[in-house]
Subunit: 164 residues, 2 copies
DNA sequence: AATAACCTTTACGTTAACGTCAATTTCATG
DNA sequence: CATGAAATTGACGTTAACGTAAAGGTTATT
């Protein structure tokens, strides 16, 4: 019964497979490891790296961090939260404090993004109106302009209506 | 009456004043100009740069872009949207297309941030429970631990309750 | 066991986004 | 108008986040 556990322990993949899966290069993955963000299993210290599901999840978080403008060092701090020793009280406290801080940062970012969204939406609408009034005033409106307006308006409104 | 307009045209400030206002260095501001993101007024091409409210708004957008992981080149593209020539139809069309693209990108980022937020919240709660159960099982609980728990719980719930 | 395909480390190269001088110029002020 | 503070233009340095090439080890397949 102990053996059964070890048997179905999920498939491991190589570095280039993982890289392709995420559209990055093996070099990048090794670099993340160099900075302590990843730590894949290896049969011997010189043999190939083998990545499992946990590694995939971590890599996903790393890339997400990048998209939000976190440096790899910052992302590493966040990742360390996810694996703090759950037996050390003091350690848990620090983890919780840190986590709350990052939560507040994330909320700020969301707020800012929403504001940027509002501004850009308003901006797009203003420009759209200019274009529409140009089309109306034109005695012989360009058919391509008509087509553009007909396709653009609903697309913009679809984005505008989204509940974010 | 034409003169009155020109008179109250808002105050202009120097580069180091602007820099201090945003907590960055003059060098950074000059660098943004070098990349075409700013273009302050100058009395002669060799004299001091003087920044007005419009420049301040642009700089704010630049720094916000940075916080979201946009490169300066990307931010420049976005900024160019904001000053497209409103007499060239074709130009307006491209601006609108571009703007919509960026809006979709922003929506994606917001979604991802929300997901990250959910995950981190869940995570914090799980860790908090561990700590709480440790405190309950302890026959002589550490008063500092009690204090921490009492301050942390409401703080976390305040964040959790926020409508984002 | 040979061989190709893939992996490993080592090491130097590159780009973006500034930092940091240094050598002038310009500006405000007594 | 002198003079000290602040601004300007080079020009080179730095750091993060990889890219790239070389030289050799591992794995899978025939």
């Amino acid at each position: 019964m102990g053996a059964a556990k070890k048997a179905g322990e999920g498939k491991k993949i190589t570095i280039s497979e993982l890289a392709e899966e995420f559209g990055i290069t093996p070099r990048a993955i090794r670099y993340y490891e160099e900075l302590g963000l990843l730590c894949p299993h290896r049969k011997s210290p010189t043999s190939q790296r083998l990545y499992d599901e946990k590694d995939r999840v971590r890599l996903k978080l790393i890339l997400r961090g990048k998209r939000f403008g976190f440096s790899l060092a910052e992302t590493r701090e966040i990742l360390e939260l996810y694996e703090a020793d759950p037996t050390e009280r003091r350690q848990i406290q620090r983890t919780l404090e840190y986590g709350l801080e990052h939560l507040l940062e994330i909320d700020e970012k969301i707020d800012e993004l929403k504001e940027l969204r509002r501004e850009m939406l308003e901006f797009a609408r203003r420009f759209l109106k200019i274009l529409e009034s140009m089309a109306e005033e034109d005695p012989r409106p360009d058919p391509r302009l008509r087509k553009f307006l007909e396709s653009y308006r609903p697309r913009l409104e679809a984005v505008a209506k989204r509940k974010i």
